[in-house]
Symmetry: C2
Subunit: 219 residues, 2 copies
């Protein structure tokens, strides 16, 4: 294969690569029950993972995407559990609407407090976020303890996110943390069933919502 | 489920979570042909993706891990195609051995040159890396064009990595870029077959190699 001539026309224009990828994904996905906006989130998750099984396991509560769009357009803040999400999504997406993207896990005060309480930095970072910001979007793609702590804070009336994107990955507590999220009432969320997930698919979901917010802002 | 009492003993100690996760992964993986060191890389890829299919599709050339360890311990540099890998792996892992972790895709000169040449920033960032650094580890988890360009630079004698971790994800050129890597001779690599991959599994492979380097440095 002479890849230079073969791939170049497709790859120099990112929008064209996305369009072409999305057409392949739609074709291979076949029938599904996602609404038009939901599908825009799900296909981006599939795009980031090349995993249709993961895509099919996505659960989006009614109105969750609209709640995320409203949150972004209102300039509310976005909280990421890990820095990979912060760097993968980027602050500019939210700053242009007045909000910002934060990740507190590497903060010194978080580290000190976690040691003091003999708990995870992920847990303390959620507590810090809930203290600093009203509402907002919580994008959790790595730490099950972050998602479990956020659910606890909500139940205790200490946090009230506009939207939770909860897709931690792993073999210990990840699937269980998402099961807890599925039991949560009154807070919109995007999640998936099972162990799969991670920073890249969480970024994909977050970016899909922010792109829908951009579209709505233009109207 | 009272998750607070249930998950806390496992999650406050990251090493224990890893150990427990790895024991589940080993049990569910069953038989495989990976060597002891290769398995340390593969199980981390499975840990980051919860995807055994992806784990089984990993290909590591003979001596690739040892080549990566040597590169890190010699203080050679690590090049990431996207910033998610830079933030997910962290510079400290390499700085303590004298090297550093770089990602050039967001550099202004890279952006200007890509526009001038009507090509991707990923391609220009690989050219920049090859000019600046001798050898080193190239960790490519997102952009097929970065991997294809690196292969081209190697064939033209303009780059000679110590190790390539090539695991871009996606529907356009990702699988094909890895097929090109599989044809490459004389350069050690870690890759996988198919569309799956991404920043998180690339970070997992890179971190596994850097942890093995740490172990070796202590001997």
């Amino acid at each position: 294969m002479d890849f230079k001539t073969d791939f170049k026309p497709l790859t120099v224009d990112p929008d064209k690569i996305y369009d072409y990828s999305f057409s392949i994904i739609a074709e291979e996905m076949g029938e599904h029950d996602f609404s038009e906006d939901e599908w825009k989130v799900v296909r981006r998750i599939i795009h980031a993972s090349a995993d249709f099984e993961l895509g099919r396991s996505v659960i989006i509560t009614p109105g969750a995407i609209e709640a995320g769009i409203k949150s972004i357009l209102a300039g509310r803040h976005v909280i990421a559990d890990v820095q990979m999400i912060e760097s993968g999504s980027g602050k500019k997406r939210f700053q242009k609407h007045g909000g910002d993207l934060h990740c507190y896990i590497a903060d010194e005060d978080v580290s000190i407090e976690a040691k003091k309480q003999n708990t995870t930095r992920a847990i303390i970072s959620m507590q810090k976020a809930a203290k600093l910001h009203e509402g907002g979007i919580y994008a959790i793609g790595n730490a099950p303890t972050a998602l479990l702590e956020l659910i606890r804070l909500i139940k205790e009336g200490l946090a009230k996110p506009d939207l939770i994107i909860g897709m931690p990955v792993g073999f210990v507590s990840a699937a269980e943390s998402k099961e807890e999220l599925l039991k949560l009432e009154g807070i919109p969320y995007i999640t998936n069933v099972g162990r799969k997930g991670g920073s890249t698919v969480t970024v994909a979901a977050l970016n899909a919502v922010s792109l829908l917010a951009d579209e709505q802002a233009k109207k």
